[in-house]
Amino acid sequence: GGRFGFITTKTIKEDDIEEILENLELSLLEGDVAFEVADTIVESVKEDLIGRKIKRRGDMELFTTNALKKSIYEIIDNGEYDLLGDIEKVRKTGEPYKIMFVGINGTGKTTTIAKLATYLERYGYTSVLGASDTFRAGAIEQLEYHAKNLNMKIIKHPKDSDPAAVAYDAVDHAKATGKDIVLIDTSGRMQTNANLMDEMKKIKRISKPDIVIYVGDALMGNDATEQADKFNEVIDIDGIILTKTDADAKGGAALSIGHVIHKPILFIGVGQGYDDLIEFKPEWMIDQIFNEQEAEA
């Protein structure tokens, strides 16, 4: 606390915190928080700090830390999605619980389906995997390998056939055989591609998922806001899974996405194995941001 080595009571003014806020903004940006979101956070920290009275050394750091935490919580804490409770409710009606996965190319949708099926199996739920990515080379075979490894049923049609029809058949299969969960894989698509976004809407219309999960890559930068915003607008996302957080990503994308669509993050992906999926807690984001600051200090 060298910079604030005064003892007498002092009221915080804008000038006193300019440098702190600038550094804060830089470390948020370095953690891949999108520019406009970092701006919003810094503004809210500033508002929180100005006018406060400092009485002792260390107050400034404490106030700043608390203000930052509060601001991050506000963005990231979009309620907890009670996935298991939700599944139970739907299962009581005798219907299978349907989850549809969407996102841009290569974020980890297919792998995450295999991970989530593994997770749900631990709670006693049986899954059927719907190979609705009929477009990308090797996509059906990829999901097929996962199904084989996990000893689960996959519903597939030939490559390039109608993805909505595959999803429909997967739901049908679950109903007929009493499976608990239908996990629908879809092709990666750019949010700027109107045709593909329409196709995704059609898959949703036909398969009527109980929940749509947006799979985002923790390594992505500023585009996270645009992507999430557009997907949410077109298909109404219910929850988020953030992948590849094991790659030393700070994962500021979680804040960027949370800020624009206010939807909860359910899980984070922490590796390529079937067990590498953990439940998301807002504290994770706090740790990410603060570890970084400590490392720099």
Binding site: L26, L29, E30, G31, D32, A34, F35, E36, I104, N105, G106, T107, G108, F135, R136, A137, G138, A139, E141, Q142, E144, Y145, H146, N149, K159, G188, M190, Q191, T192, N193, D217, L219, M220, G221, N222, D223, A224, T225, E226, Q227, K244, D246, A247, D248, A249, K250, G252, A253, Q272
Partner: protein, 304 residues
Amino acid sequence: MLEGLSENLTNTMKKLSGMSIIDKKTLKEITKEIQKALIQSDVNVKVVLNLTKEIQRRALDEELPKGLSPKEHVMRIVYEELVYLIGEKPEPLDINKKPYKIMMLGLQGSGKTTTTAKLAKNLKKRGLTTAIVCTDTWRPAAYEQLKQLSEPLDVPVYGDPKNSDAVDLAQKGLEHFGSKYDVIIVDTAGRHKEEADLLDEMKQLSTVVNPDEVILVIDGTIGQQARNQAKAFKQTTTIGSIIVSKLDGSAKGGGALSAVAEINAPIKFIGTGERVDDFEAFDPERFISRLLGMGDIETLIERA
């Protein structure tokens, strides 16, 4: 949002229009806007700070060239510094021996396998024959993916889904194709800087393949991590060039610039879609316009 940003930059630049000398305060404002533009385009914060320090220094130190307004002068410096980083002209992929061995490298899901097929198609158009070796033993159906991508191109793929030794696969693949083809592309599994085993595997692959060119595939949507990841990759092999994928979305591709700054290898191509034809030679000028969120940089430079 980005439109607004370029507007800010343009508006700030306009302030310079009427001035006959560059004053410090305006320069600082402009520097801030340039920083904003670059960071919003995902260029690494440290790279941006270094870059703008140099821009500021030059704008103040260098004499205003005759016939240039301060605005044109600053714009030219910005452009020159970016060009200094990424190169003025697109560097071609120079196939100078047979077989010319190319090895792909990159993070999980960055686009290596798709880019391998795009490259094979591109080479075919140049009249060169290509063969592909699949060494990805991690991702389920990596071999099938390559097979399906290359079949319509009539490009052979060596692979064996039962073999889980990437180095062995590389060795066998190279032996299999010998010197029958002009180019052999070795596709590899995705990996990142925290996966020590996989980085070690890359080192071994590099020794066994002895590639003539290692191509780093960078996801156009990646953010600040591009720099550190590139740094870790650099320690496993000598990277000769970069291909930026997924530039058909709305991301600006600044992560690639950070990688260039880190490993000092040129960007040679960009990927602009999922199909094998969605592949273009890298155009530095267009890329810089995109980074700065300014459409009119070319005309500015021409006048400058």
